[in-house]
Amino acid sequence: MFHYLLRRLLISIPTLFGVTILIFIVMRLLPGDPTSVMFGQETFGALSEADQQRFRQALGLDEPLYRQYLNWMGDVFSGDLGRSFWRTDTVRDLIVARGPISAQIAIMAIVFSWIIGIPLGIISAVRRNTWPDNLIRATAAVFLSIPEFWLAVVIVLVGVLYFSWRPPVERAYLWEDPWKNLQLTLGPAVAMGSVAAAYLVRITRSSILEVLHADFVRTARAKGLRERLVLTRHVFRAAILPVITLSGLTFAGLLGGSVVVETAFSVPGLGAALVKALSERDYIVIQNLVLLYAVIFTVMNLVVDLAYGWLDPRVRYE
C-alpha cells in the first residue's frame, strides 16, 4: 500500500511538471499583451517605447522565456505563487481568500448529489420498470439536459421575484457567519449538485442492475439471506465502485468548473477569478490556478484509486 502510494505520487510529479510547461507556453502563445490590456490600449499606445518597455520590465515580461518560467517555479516552491499583474495581492492570498468558498460549494454539491442520487438510483434499479423507476429516470433525464447555469439563474430569479430573497452579495466564510455563508453557498451547491445527482442516479441504477445478476448475489439469495441484507452487504458494496469514480472526477470538476454557476450567483470563488484573469491576460494567476486544478485532479484520482481498495477486497495494491 505504502509503496503504491509512493509510486503514484512520484508518477504525478512529471505530470504536474508537464502541466506547468504546457500552460506556460499556451499563455505565451495566446494573442494579447497583458501590459496593454492592463493599461488600456489608448493609454499604452500613448506611452513611449521606452516606457512600454519599463512596464514590461516591472512585470518581468522582458526576460527570456526560460527565466520567466524559472521565476514562476521559484515562486511556486517558495509558496507565495507570485503576484498578480493587476492587483497587489499574491496568488496565494487569492487562493486562500476564494478557495474555501469554491471548495465548500463543491463539497456541498457532491454530498447533495449523494443524498439525492444514490438512494434514487437504488430505488430505480430495485423497482426496475415500475412507475417509480420511470419517474426517477424521466426526472434524471430532465436534470441531465438542463444546463447548470440555467438552473442557477432560475433559482436566483425565483428567489428575487417571489420571495424577495437573493444570495448575499458579500463573501462570508462558514467560520465567520455560518447563516450568511449557507445562503451564499446553498444555491450554487444545489444547482451543481442536482445535475451531478442526475448522473449518479443513472450510474447507480445501471451498476446495481449489473450486480443484481451476478453469481455471488444469486448465491447470497440461495443461502437464504434477506433481500435487504443482500442489497446492503453484497450488491451495494460491489456496485458502489463506479459511483465513487464518477463522484471523484465530478468533485474535481466542480472545484474547477463552477465558473458559470459562480457567476450566476455572483459567488467570489476561484472559477470567477480564473475567467477574470483570462480576460486580463494575468499570466501568473492563470498559470497558478491551472496548476492548482491539475493538482486537484491528480489527488482526486489517487483518492479514488485508494477508495477502490478499501471498498472492494478484490483490489490489491501490490
Binding site: 490590456v37 492592463m38 489608448e42 493609454t43 516606457d51 437573493r166 452579495v169 486580463e280
Partner: protein, 556 residues
C-alpha cells in the same frame, strides 16, 4: 416611467424649498465661461429638510480598477469608488443634474474679459486626509502633471487642458490658469469628476505616478478605509471635511458585483441600497415596486456606434457610408437590444443634454433618424448604385469586441440582419477577444466595428476631438476631413453660445453626409435605489459628474 425633466426637477426642488445655497454660474455651456465671478453664498447640503446623519450605504460596484491613478485611467471603474475621496476646484451641481457649475475647493473665481485668465480663490482651512493643508501649490502640481505628465505617466484627458499655457500660484490661496486662446468648455473641463485636486506631497513622494497607491490623500468628504480586490471598496466619513453640512453617511461600502442583473436584484431584495448600470429587465421590475424602489433612466455620455474603416473599400466611399446611415433602422436596432441597453432615439452626433444639440423632434424628422424607412432605403439604394454596388456587397467584416455577451450575441447579428435586408450588404461577424481587439483594429483588417465610445465631458469639442479629428486616439476608422477639423477648432474657440450652436449644427450636417460612423444613438443608465436612500439627484447626466455621494443620507 416618465423621464424626469430638468424643468420638472427645478419646479419640484423649488416647491420642496430647496435650501441649497450655492453660487452658480449661468446654465448654457459657453455662457458659463463668460460669466464673471460668482459670489459664494453658502455650502451644499441635502435637498430634503432635516436629513439624518449616520449609517453605512451599500452601493453596487461593477469592476475593480486596474490601477488607482485617476488621471491615467480611462475607466469609470476608478471614478466610482475613488471620487468620494476628492474635491475639484469647481464641480457640477449634484442637485440639478449637473446643469450648473458650483464652487468646490475654489469658493469663487474670476474670468478675464478676453477669456484667457481664470483666477480661482481657494477656501481657507482645507486639509488633505493626511493632515496637510491645501494650498495653491497642490493645484499647480495637479494640473501641471495633468497637462505635462512626467515620463512614464499618461494623462488620459490631456486634450482637455491643451489650451493652458501656465498654472500659477498667485499666493497660497489663489491659482491662475492662463490660456493661449479662449476655450468654450474650460469650466466644464475643470468641473468634470476626473479633474480632482491632488496633494503635491503625494505626487512628489510617488514620482508623479499614483497607479500603485490606493489611498493617496484627497480633501474629499470621505477618506479611504479598505479595499479588497473583487469584494469591496470602503470609504468612511472625513471628520475634518471643510463643509460642515456634509457628508451625512458614516461610510460607503461599494460591493463588487460584475453582472448588471445581480447588482439590480440585490437592490430589489435589500442586499444593496443603490446601484447603477443595472440591467434593463431589473429596472423594469423596479418600476413595478414604486413603494420600495426608486428607479430612473439617466442619460449616459456614451454612444452606440458602428465605425467604418474609411481607409479601404467599400467604406472609403462616403456614399456607401451614407447608404448604411440611411438604411439601417435605428428604432428596430434599438428594439432588438432593448432588454440589454436603453438606446435613445432622436439623438444625433451631439449629446442631447447639451444646449448645443439638435432638438429630439427635429432629429426624428431627419433622413436616417426617422422611423419611416421607405424613402431612406430608396435613397440608400440609389447611393449604392452610384457607388458601383447596385447588387449590394458581400464579404464585409464587422468586428465585434469580445467573444460573448449581448453586444456579440444580439447587437451584431441584429445590425447584420438589418443591413442585409435593407440594402443587401452581407457582412461576416468577427468577434474578437477584448485583449486583442485594439491590436486587430490597429491592423485595419476590418470594414466596420461596433463600439460604445464615451466622452470625458458633455461637450462635442471633447468627444468629437477624440473620435473624428484627424489622427485622434480613438479615431479607429481613420476618418480625416480638413473641413471638419477646422469646424471643430472653431467650435472649441467660439464663446458665443448661439454662434457655437450654429457651428455645431454645421458639423452635424457634415457628419450626416460624411458618416465616419453609423451613429445609432446615445445610451441611458438605469439606476435604482431603496426608497429610504435620500439626497439622490434623479436627473444626473453621465457617469463623470457627481459621484462624491456627499448629499446622500439614509432615512432609517
Amino acid at each position: 416611467m416618465e423621464r424626469f425633466s430638468r424643468r420638472k426637477f427645478i419646479g419640484t426642488a423649488g416647491a420642496a424649498g430647496l435650501a441649497l445655497a450655492t453660487s452658480t454660474v449661468a446654465r448654457p455651456t459657453s455662457a458659463r465661461a463668460r460669466q464673471a465671478t460668482p459670489e459664494p453664498s453658502g455650502l451644499i447640503q441635502a435637498p430634503e429638510p432635516n436629513p439624518k446623519r449616520g449609517g453605512t450605504i451599500k452601493i453596487g460596484g461593477f469592476a475593480d480598477p486596474t490601477h488607482f491613478d485617476l488621471d491615467q485611467s480611462p475607466s469609470i471603474a476608478n471614478l466610482y469608488p475613488q471620487a468620494p475621496m476628492y474635491d475639484n476646484l469647481i464641480r457640477f451641481n449634484p442637485l440639478d443634474g449637473g446643469q450648473t457649475i458650483i464652487p468646490d475647493l475654489a469658493e469663487r473665481w474670476e474670468i478675464s474679459e478676453d477669456g484667457l485668465n481664470y483666477t480661482f480663490y481657494l477656501r481657507s482651512g482645507v486639509t488633505f486626509h493626511d493632515g496637510e493643508p491645501l494650498t495653491a501649490d497642490d493645484v499647480v502640481a495637479t494640473f501641471e502633471r495633468r497637462r505635462n505628465p512626467p515620463e512614464g505617466v499618461v494623462s488620459i484627458r490631456q486634450s482637455l487642458y491643451t489650451a493652458i499655457t501656465a498654472v500659477e500660484a498667485v499666493d497660497p490661496q489663489t491659482v491662475r490658469f492662463v490660456l493661449s486662446e479662449p476655450q468654450a468648455f474650460f469650466l466644464e473641463a475643470l468641473a468634470t469628476g476626473w479633474s480632482v485636486v491632488l496633494s503635491k506631497k503625494s505626487l512628489d513622494d510617488n514620482n508623479g505616478d499614483l497607479r500603485r497607491v490606493v489611498d493617496y490623500p484627497g480633501t474629499g468628504p470621505y477618506r479611504f478605509k479598505e479595499y479588497t480586490p473583487g469584494v469591496r471598496w470602503v470609504v468612511e466619513r472625513n471628520p475634518n471635511y471643510w463643509n460642515p453640512n456634509v457628508p451625512y453617511l458614516d461610510a460607503i461600502e461599494r460591493i463588487t458585483i460584475p453582472a448588471a442583473k445581480d447588482r439590480g436584484t440585490a437592490v430589489l431584495t435589500g442586499d444593496l441600497d443603490f446601484a447603477d448600470h443595472v440591467s434593463v429587465d431589473v429596472y423594469q421590475e423596479a418600476l413595478n415596486r414604486p413603494d420600495e424602489i426608486g428607479a430612473v433612466m439617466n442619460p449616459a455620455t456614451w454612444a452606440f456606434t458602428v465605425t467604418f474603416n474609411v481607409t479601404r473599400p467599400p467604406f472609403n466611399d462616403p456614399r456607401v457610408r451614407r447608404a448604411v446611415h440611411l438604411a439601417v433602422s435605428r428604432q428596430q436596432l434599438a428594439a432588438a437590444y432593448a432588454q440589454t441597453d436603453d438606446i435613445r432615439m432622436g439623438t444625433r452626433w451631439c449629446h442631447p443634454s447639451s444646449p448645443l444639440a439638435t432638438p429630439e423632434e427635429e432629429v426624428l424628422k431627419l433622413p436616417g433618424y426617422r422611423e419611416e424607412k421607405d424613402e431612406d432605403i430608396a435613397e440608400a439604394k440609389r447611393l449604392m448604385e452610384a457607388a458601383g454596388y447596385p447588387d449590394g456587397l458581400t464579404d464585409v467584416v464587422l468586428l465585434l469586441r469580445g467573444t460573448t455577451g449581448p453586444g456579440v450575441e444580439i447587437y451584431g447579428p441584429a445590425f447584420q440582419d438589418l443591413l442585409r435586408r435593407s440594402i443587401g450588404i452581407t457582412c461576416e461577424l468577427r468577434p474578437v477577444d477584448g485583449a486583442v481587439y485594439f491590436d486587430v483594429v490597429r491592423g485595419g483588417e476590418f470594414h466596420m466595428t461596433s463600439g460604445v465610445p464615451a466622452g470625458a465631458i458633455n461637450d462635442p469639442s471633447d468627444y468629437w476631438g477624440q473620435w473624428f479629428m484627424t489622427g485622434a486616439a480613438q479615431n479607429y476608422g481613420g476618418y480625416s476631413n480638413p473641413e471638419f477639423d477646422d469646424l471643430l477648432m472653431r467650435i472649441g474657440r467660439e464663446m458665443d453660445e448661439n454662434a457655437r450652436r450654429d457651428l455645431v449644427r454645421q458639423a452635424e450636417d457634415l457628419l450626416d453626409q460624411d458618416c465616419p460612423m453609423f451613429f445609432h444613438g446615445w445610451g441611458n443608465i438605469p439606476r435604482i435605489w431603496r426608497k429610504d436612500v435620500m439626497g439622490i439627484d434623479q436627473n444626473v447626466l453621465g457617469t463623470y459628474m457627481c459621484f462624491k455621494y456627499d448629499t446622500l443620507w439614509l432615512d432609517r
